[in-house]
Amino acid sequence: MDDIILQFINGLDKGSAYALIALGLTLIFGTLGVVNFAHGMLFMLGAFCAVVMQRILNISAVTIDETQKDFLGRPLEVKTPYAELWFGPEIGQVIVNWSVPLSLLLAVPFMALVGWVMERGIIKHFYKRPHADQILATFGLAIVIQEIMKEIFGANPIPVPAPQSFAGSLDFGVLLGFDPNVIVYPYWRLIYFLFSSVILLAVFAFLRYTTFGMVVRAGMADRETVGLLGINIDRRFTIMFAIAAIVAGVAGAMYAPINSPNYHMGMDFLVLSFVVVVVGGMGSLAGAVLAGYLLGVLESFASMNTVKDALPGIDQVIIYLTAIVVLLVRPRGLLGRRGVMED
């Protein structure tokens, strides 16, 4: 029982990352009708915002320590972050330590800019082109950005630790009446789950309860009619693209302590997030979120030793197997709308 509860929590946690990425992908597809294969790249750029913030906060004054030697036997260069010099060791270390949450301050404007440039510079030229053209253009863009990031940051994963305050795990078991240390879960993963829930709710509330959101939803339903009413739907769609980029970016930044950022992490998530979108139903925001959590939970259960013993290799195919079953039973996906991606 404890294993099942643990894997369920783990599945929700995994699913929260899938849901966040798939939500952004669906926002872009639902509003602009664009199949964005560069969406995983936006997630990766967000993760590197955490790396950049970590490096900014670690900009250091260099002093020479004659008593210590480097690997070539020369006097050692000792680096002390300016944050520690300016605010004292204790506060300085806390600032440096909180680089991941602080990176959101960088990720939001940076990703908005990236989204705006991407939409105005490339995507808008493909609105009326076939989906295959959109896929080629955005996939090409993803590869270019990926290689640029590799040139700048190298191919190795870069460790970005969570704040020290969130190191360690919460003993869930005790809260649920189990023995101590039976069901424990890392604090930072719980923070990520809560963070993604807040973002998901915020996006839904924004679309549901604001005038802007109402216009966007109307545009998603019938773009031409909204345009005929004199509303500049294009401008709003550009903003939606930027919002989708921000969602992917902040998801990536907060994910950095879980999966050390590397240049190909966007590609790792890309295929998965498309499966989530298809299972959820093309163009359905609620479907993307539901499918994200569902696939996360199924993936976790499929990794259990008892399941793997009974069905060897199931952990490698469960997501795709689920997609096949869902598409056979409900060809439009779990919450797919009629007419979306249908001739």
């Binding site: 424990v184 990794s303 259990m304 952990d315």
Partner: protein, 447 residues
Amino acid sequence: MSRSRFTRRGVLKSGAVAGAGVALPTIFTAGSASAFTNEPTGATVTFGFNVPQSGPYADEGMDELRAQQLAVEHINGEGDGGMLNTFKSALDGSGVLGKKVVYVTGDTQTKSDAARASAKSMIEKDGAIMINGGSSSGVAVAVQSLCQEAGIIFMAGLTHSNDTTGKDRKANGFRHFFNAYMSGAALAPVLAKAYGTDRRAYHLTADYNWGWTQEESIRAATEALGWETVETVRTPLSTTDFSSYIAPVLNSGADVLILNHYGGNMVNSINQAVQFGLRDKVVNGKNFEIVVPLYSELMAEGAGEAIKGVYGSMNWNWQLDNPGTKAFVKSFGEKYGRPPSNSAHTCYVQTLLYADAVARAGSFNPCAVVEALEDFEFDGMGNGPTLYRGADHQCFKDVLVMKGNENPTNQFDILEIVELTPRAQVEYAPDHPMFAGGDLGKCNSGA
């Protein structure tokens, strides 16, 4: 009306004789002008460096390439000479057999098919006489097989699977790097000393050739100590989030987690295991421990704080205190501003060893080089007295047991040397069950 003097039979006969006449000298000249594949005829000889220049191991590949370039400089008599000052060599600093060494590079992408394609191109288009490099056992086995068919010497880079010099060994292939069996043999006594002989181990293993041989080796070594193997779980190579594999470890009754992972897999799995609080747990009255059988400096950098206090093994490390290591670290460090990794070291050494073997053999003929390398004993290359065993083309030397440094003083000393395991402790018979089923075959010169 005149009759033609040409008959059909006459034309055929004449054609056959003329054809044979034209072909005959070619057959003889082909044999005499090129006695083996890519025999160098000009003032230069070309080495082919096949390393990952793109893909997840690109940083490791770049470090290999730096070392290979340095080796070429030293062979050609440029720079400070590096290990040629400490290794008793037949090279005189004027290239190899009077020919200046030049090189071409290929990108393996850490994919077997891409690695074979780039090696093939370097052999067929660029005339490479020897192929060196790589950061994966899958790549090493594939390229080694290609070189065997082509009549080229393959000096493997980083490849740790038992199979490279086990069931997939080839006469034209040589491995300086250590292997999974040696990791297990070196680590086991240190683990027994540190954690005792009454332990329960849980293995997470990358689901491919290297992972399987690593698991088999470390499992056999730890079970011989008295450790019990609680579970062995295979994880897909593409996994980035290991949480669903780590969660079951918590209540498995295991008190040691052995991560048979390398590269990005290792970086993520160890970080996530630490996040799950495994290292803070007390199980069976003992502190929970993590072991990473194969370490690399670059991956250790990626893992960050998570590797502190974690045991693993290495082929070589820049902190070793011997003349060969010091000479190489000085050359490499002054040129590139950082100490070399153990994959850089093995590629550097392999390039020098090949050049030296050619010089000793007095020929670039692959079969002469094979003969020169087989059962060759040497020193001054940073690992102490070393043997290139003729029976399987595996190098035998001391193995390093490492531990994540608890208090690093700079970005490079993140690992510390715990023990230098003597060569005798990691030796095994060529027909050991973990290496069985292979046959070197005969050397192929391509003639």
